[in-house]
């Protein structure tokens, strides 16, 4: 119906306008700058030099590829573990037990924590001179910070993964809790009465029902952890270095030519995330058709 179409267009215009002009307009400019176009210093080139430099030049190649590997590793592992941790928590906390309400609150507590605060908190607790290390020193287990294992600022990114799990689990937890609540217990009871054991109930009843929500949330968490800067900057090592940290260092360089390289790296990060999201959409479409 004509009226319907008008209604659709009018309803969608305000948010699309905001996102279209502000977001995509900004990206367009960033893209231009990554091609070398910087009118403020009278540079009007258009080329892919910055991209080439970032990925293949002698100075940056090692840093870039090791950073990319680290990025993928950190994002996949932390997203998966955060989801698993949250799922375990949600499945347990929906049942009644002592201090259930309190645990519920704690598990969702980290949602409003900004990532910078989370990263700083990790250092306070897990560094070699942090809270845990001091505890173990007080009870005589270790005698100096160097004897405490390296949990943050390590080259495998465990500290970063820990920080992301710590924060993103809350996001998953809240979503899972509401899904489980709205699903109710009927399906599980039915399965149980048909003789399914706990693991079977989980694998064939619960998991498929929460999967759609888990997937959607995962893609947001993955994308965010891939492109975020604060956590790896505080909890990572100098080498290998996650890509957003590497990009940021370009922007810290007073040499204006480094801007193009910083933008190129930002564009590369964005493109990788885009590709992964598209793969996700394609996979879920395939899955839906299969079902």
């Amino acid at each position: 119906m004509g009226g319907d179409r008008l209604k659709i267009v009018l309803s969608l215009t305000p948010p699309l306008l905001i996102i279209g002009t502000l977001f995509f307009g900004g990206i367009l400019y960033g893209f231009l700058q990554s091609l070398g176009y910087q009118p403020a210093i009278q540079k009007y080139d258009i080329n892919f030099d910055a991209y080439y430099n970032v990925m293949f030049s002698e100075r940056y190649a090692k840093l870039f590829w090791s950073g990319l590997a680290l990025n993928l590793w950190v994002s996949f592992v932390s997203t998966f573990l955060a989801a698993a941790f949250a799922l375990f928590g949600a499945l347990t906390i929906r049942k009644t037990f002592f201090a259930k309400k309190f645990c519920n609150f704690i598990f969702s507590l980290n949602l409003p924590m900004p990532h910078l605060v989370v990263a700083v908190g990790m250092i306070f607790v897990f560094s070699q001179s942090g809270l845990l290390a001091r505890f173990f020193t007080q009870i005589g287990f270790i005698a100096s910070p160097s004897e405490f294992p390296i949990l943050v600022k390590d080259k495998y990114g465990f500290g970063i993964i820990l920080a992301y799990i710590w924060k993103e689990a809350a996001f998953f937890f809240i979503i899972l809790m509401s899904v489980l609540q709205s699903l109710g217990e009927n399906f599980e009871e039915l399965a149980q009465s048909l003789g399914a054991n706990k693991w079977q109930r989980f694998r064939y009843v619960i998991l498929p029902l929460v999967m759609p929500n888990l997937f959607s949330a995962s893609i947001i968490v993955f994308a965010f952890s891939f492109g975020a800067y604060e956590v790896p900057a505080i909890l990572g090592v100098n080498y290998p270095q996650m890509l957003p940290v590497m990009a940021f260092e370009f922007f810290l360089n007073p040499d204006l030519n480094a801007r193009s390289e910083g933008m190129a790296l930002s564009m590369i990060i964005a493109m990788i995330v885009m590709i992964l999201v598209v793969i996700y959409f394609w996979l879920t479409q395939a899955k839906i058709r299969k079902d």
Binding site: R59, Q128, N238
Partner: protein, 416 residues
Amino acid sequence: MSNKFKILTLAIISLFFAKLVSAEVAPGFNSWDDVKAAASGDKVNVYMWGGSDAINGFVDDFYGAPLKADYNVTLNRVGIAGTVDAVNQVLSEKEAGITGDNGSIDLIWINGENFWTLKQADLLYGPFAAGLPNSKFVAWDNPAVNLDFGRAVDGMESPWSSAQFHFMYDSARNDYEDMPRNYGFLTKWISDNPGRFTYIRPGKGGFVGTRFVKQIFFELSGGQEQWVGPYNEELYNKWAPKVWALLNSWEADLHRSGETYPTNNAEMHALFANGEVDMSFTQSPRGAGPTNSAGTTPPTARAFAFYNNMIGDFNYWAIPYNAPNKAAALLYANVVLEPTLQAAQVQPANGFCCGWGISTAKVTSADGVAAIQDAQNNLGDAAEDQGILARALVSDIAAEYQDKIEADWQANVLLK
């Protein structure tokens, strides 16, 4: 004398005076009175690194009050995460075509590469520094002042304070006599105390680390003098391999076996304070004083310097080309050079970080001299002997070395 000659002489003399009188104090202002008149009632937007509440408080208290009382100028201090953010802002404004008096920044606390970025892109207002009345206290003939990272200042920035690289140690753990006084002894100290030393990685945001490494160049090559002047590729290539070899030889005995290095002062002080390493770096004439009062280093922390090759330099205030309140900016730049306020900078009680921007020898007023003497006597025992510092003082070198060292350190030491 013939009449013609008299007239000619008169003409020349009046021309001479006319030139004197109409010499601009700064572009657009014919006299200091003009500046004061134009600034009255204005705000001045001062952009500076905001990570130290002691420095922030100092600026607010010591400059805010006289600016308001004497000149009717309101101070608006804007704390930024790093100077490069202000540079980026000016750059963005230029790209957006903001000119005249329509920018947002009046003054930037700046030096080195950031200064050069703005200067070479013609993004600064000036030359203005020589026109300030208090510039008579500045030692403009000293290359440490008129060259910033080897590049001519040309009056496009005016000094605020100075800093000199040296070290901190914890008197509760070590003795002053045991601390190494050059890189040779430091190398021995590191191998005698494995895991107890590290340094800030040379890189963006870690110029102190770059300084630490530059000084190695000076020592290994026999002196800093040959490095002064324009960038010398041959000289660099001659000594760089030896420097990387030295740093790599330390690696096994460094904190974390050189797997990672602190990226800035804050991380370095934290490692030092928590007992993970035994030394840290400082640039204040008060040594460990500022950080001890702030509580970021233990109260037993003290300072020491090598006997040579401790780089010192000045930091400045610059005015962007499109500053909205240029007259107020000029007033501010002048106020910070006031001898009594410079002495207040150095007084420990005021918590400021750094040293003199003026040359104390040039101050003659009774008040000024008294304030300076008082400050000099009060530096506190967390400071190193000022004589040792003065004898070890060398200036920084051409800016090209900065980036080269940072890139090569990354390639030759970090990435091996």
